[in-house]
């Protein structure tokens, strides 16, 4: 690969930059900083080491689609800003390609930005993915990257959509004004990829803003003065020479990035306001010169705006929710599961396995019971996992993927913002909540998109206690939907009530104030079936990979507990709670023990019990509010520490048991006769 002249000149600065991040103590540096120890110190390093190419762009500009196209890997692509919260790595052209979270600018405004910033500071080449339909907005980041002085290429994505909207862009003009190669592409269709590949071989350092250069020089002088005065900056011996610190670092320092300032051991700069305003104006000027055709409102935009208005948006939201209920609760939970679980597995698969096992072992043997008994590894586990959970989880992820790709979710965020404000959250939190309906463990990670620690605490508590995951929800749908619409409405009302109470209480209790909604509303698009299927498949297999082993261990545990008589002892011990307070059959204790392992597993345990309609409803509510599964507890420990995780764990047991008993009495009190 031929290296352009410009990149050679920065290699000295690169060296300084790399060692800077290496100088940061491990505790302070984000995960990506570990990269610096393995990545080459300069572009012109010895053969065998890899270059680092980073994709950067605004949220929802198609970085992940391009990443998939270039590496042949699959990472989630959706029409929602902020789908990527972690960096994905792949190899491309013998270099390491990283997909960074979408940001509107580089800084330390959020975790996503910090991750993006650190990968961009290490990158040898940056591919700036720009959405051709929202050029004015996207150019801010582009100009910041230019100011950072990184060798880069602009990939002008979604050219097909821009064409469709009648937007005409003067691409040579954009290349001229930025000083870097500009390649029009359509990432999802793979158009322009060859041209992009060629352009990446010779990236350019673009034209920085005069104001930004002045600020960078001023920071360099400030660092030099500081260095002279104290004889060192930050780590002694490593960065003694301020001349070797990269332009990117200095620019971020000038923009007042506190973390960068800390790494350099100096107070942050004070030029942010000036640089930002200047940059915004330059972006607007550039956009005015580059955009030739006006562009008109197409169906996607029009529908997008109407679904954001309450008068249309709320009925549409109710319709979508009803559709979700109908598809998951009626079609999948009743018709499909009836066949897969009821016929395929219970009538054909299980008898076959039992027969097969019986040829080797007697029915009284412990191993037989373990494999093919009531909680058999080969019978119940397989039936629940594949007959019951798989269709439900797949159905849910299918709907979720369609909602994501259509760009509908940001509208939900807008419509629910006002309500969520009362719970100390803003509309953005609706995304972790909806994802939580898929898998609470996965959703726990996405709470990182929330701006403050306060909001994350509230969201995690709500997720841990009052949001059932798809597998659990599926089993509950099987339990509750046959009881009639009134029972379903009652279940939903109780869960929402608890949800609201927890949110309002935490909002009152926690100090501080939550941040406000600020969210891009992308146009509505027709989802692409191929992407929907790929995404659903990747999520379902992730679910199976996570659930199957834990499920199996859980079954094993329960089987052992049952064989040793411990289960019975537990049932007796918690009898006053289950039979007395909750008014459930004593065997339900076993479902709660299983619920400690996995939420859906607990719900599945209820499924096999003989209960009255009244008990089914109470048990469903209780198990929904019961503890988060082991996997999400582990994530919770990792993300928030022992104290918060334990509080959520104990809180959920208390809320679940308390609510269950009250609800049971409430049903009697109002004299409701369930069928």
């Amino acid at each position: 690969m031929v290296l352009p002249k410009e990149t050679a000149t920065v290699s000295a600065a690169e060296t300084g930059k790399k060692s800077t991040s290496a100088a940061v103590p491990a505790g302070v540096a984000p995960a990506s900083a570990t990269k610096s120890t393995t990545s080459p110190p300069t572009i012109t390093s010895a053969p065998g080491s890899t270059r680092l190419i980073a994709l950067a762009g605004n949220p929802n500009c198609g970085k992940s689609a391009l990443f998939n196209r270039l590496t042949g890997l699959y990472v989630n692509v959706s029409n929602f800003p902020g789908t990527t919260v972690d960096i994905s790595k792949g190899s491309w052209l013998g270099a390491e390609l990283i997909d960074t979270p979408g940001v509107y600018g580089v800084g330390s405004y959020s975790d996503e930005e910090r991750i993006a910033r650190d990968s961009l500071l290490q990158a040898d080449v940056v591919i700036n993915v720009v959405n051709a339909t929202t050029l004015e907005r996207d150019l801010f980041l582009t100009l910041q990257l230019l100011d950072m002085g990184v060798p880069m290429v602009i990939a002008l994505n979604m050219m097909d959509e821009a064409e469709h909207l009648g937007i005409k862009l003067d691409i040579p003009m954009l290349a001229h004004l930025t000083g870097v190669p500009v390649v029009p592409i359509v990432a999802i269709a793979g158009r322009g990829i060859d041209e992009l590949t060629k352009a990446v071989a010779s990236p350019k350092i673009g034209i920085s803003d005069a104001q930004a250069i002045k600020a960078v020089q001023e920071e360099r002088r400030r660092l030099a003065a500081e260095a002279q005065e104290t004889g060192r900056i930050a780590d002694p011996g490593r960065i003694a020479d301020p001349g070797r610190i990269s332009q990117g670092m200095l620019l971020l320092l000038a923009e007042g990035d506190e973390e960068i300032a800390q790494r350099l051991g100096v107070p942050p700069g004070e030029h942010r306001e000036l640089i930002y305003t200047q940059r915004r104006r330059r972006a607007d000027r550039l956009a005015a010169k580059v955009i030739k055709g006006g562009g008109e409102q197409k169906l996607g935009q029009i529908l997008g705006e109407w679904t954001a208005r309450p008068i249309v948006g709320i009925p549409v939201l109710l319709l979508v929710l009803w559709g979700l209920y109908w598809f998951i609760g009626v079609v999948v939970a009743q018709i499909v599961v009836e066949y897969t679980e009821g016929i395929l597995f219970t009538e054909y698969y299980e008898p076959f396995v039992r027969q097969l096992m019986a040829t080797f072992l007697s029915a009284e043997n412990f191993v037989y019971k373990l494999l093919a008994g009531e909680f058999g590894l080969l019978t119940m586990t397989v039936t629940y996992l594949f007959g019951l959970l798989l269709p439900l989880v797949a159905g849910f992820y299918l709907v979720l993927s369609i909602m994501e790709d259509s760009g509908y979710l940001p509208r939900v965020a807008l419509l629910t913002d006002k309500i969520l404000n009362r719970l100390g959250l803003n509309g953005r939190a609706v995304i972790p909540m909806i994802l939580g309906l898929g898998c609470v463990t996965m959703a726990t990670f996405t709470t990182r998109v929330l701006a403050s620690k306060r909001e994350r605490t509230i969201a995690l508590a709500l997720l841990g206690i009052a949001i059932p995951c798809s597998a659990q929800l599926g089993v509950i749908a099987v339990l509750v939907t046959p009881l009639g619409l009134a029972a379903v409405a009652f279940y939903v009302a109780i869960i929402l009530l608890i949800y609201g109470l927890i949110g309002v209480t935490l909002n009152r209790m926690l100090p501080g104030r939550s941040s406000d909604l600020l969210l891009d509303l992308p146009p509505l698009r027709l989802p692409q079936p191929a992407n929907i299927l790929k995404k659903t498949a990747s999520r379902v297999s992730a679910f199976l990979a996570e659930a199957a082993p834990i499920f199996a261990v859980g079954v094993l545990l329960v089987a052992v507990l049952q064989e040793t008589g411990i289960l019975e002892a537990i049932q007796r011990a918690v009898g006053p709670l289950t039979a007395g307070w909750l008014q459930l059959p004593p065997e339900s204790a076993q479902a709660f023990v299983m619920g400690l392992v996995r939420r859906d597993f607990g719900a599945a345990g209820l499924y096999s019990l003989a209960m009255t309609a009244h008990q089914k409803l109470v048990a469903s509510i209780t198990i929904t509010l019961f503890v988060p599964c082991i996997a999400s507890m582990l994530v919770l420990f990792k993300e928030r520490g022992v104290r918060d995780a334990l509080a959520i764990f104990l809180g959920s047991i208390f809320v679940a048991i308390g609510t269950g008993g009250l609800v049971s009495r409430l049903i009697y009190l109002i004299g409701w006769n369930l069928p």
Binding site: Y104, G105, G107, Y109, T133, T134, L135, E136, R137, F140, L141, L165, I167, R272, E273, Y276, T277, R279, R280, R281, A283, D284, A287, I291, G294, G295, E296, Q297, Q301, I302, G304, E305, A308, R309, P310, G313, P410, A413, L414, D417, K418, N421, N426, G427, R513, S515, D516, L517, L518, L519, D520, L521, P522, P523
Partner: protein
């Protein structure tokens, strides 16, 4: 920091509105944005003093959605109150307006093109 920004809001002239008061279908010009954390993110997303925004929807005491250029942005109530705006009267023709701003209702263009079918329309 928060109390400081509230003070800025009250200090401004009485007739200037905040974006939280915006009404759907109207176009506003941004006069000032209070200097707090949300400001830089607004600048990044394309909102700056002088830019024009078209209000798509507003929930009373709730979020506002605006169109700026070709981008639609949802802004929470608290943040919208930090943005001072002035109403922009609709211009007779589309000339000189920024792209996508202040286009009026989406069907206006359609009505304009098909005027002969509907007869004269009084505005």
């Amino acid at each position: 920091m928060f109390s400081q920004s509230v003070k800025t809001a009250t200090e401004t002239e009485a007739q200037t509105l905040t974006l939280a008061d915006a009404r759907p279908g109207e176009t506003y010009r941004i006069i000032s944005i209070s200097p707090w954390d949300g400001r830089e993110q607004l600048l990044r997303m394309g909102l700056v003093e002088g830019s024009e925004v078209y209000c798509i929807t507003a929930f009373g005491h709730g979020p506002v959605a605006v169109r700026s250029g070709r981008t639609n942005i949802a802004i929470g109530w608290g943040l919208a109150r930090q943005i001072m705006v002035k109403k922009v009267e609709k211009m007779a023709s589309g000339v000189g307006r920024p792209v996508g701003v202040g286009e009026g209702r989406w069907f206006d263009g359609f009505a304009q093109r098909n005027r002969h079918r509907f007869g004269r329309r009084d505005r």
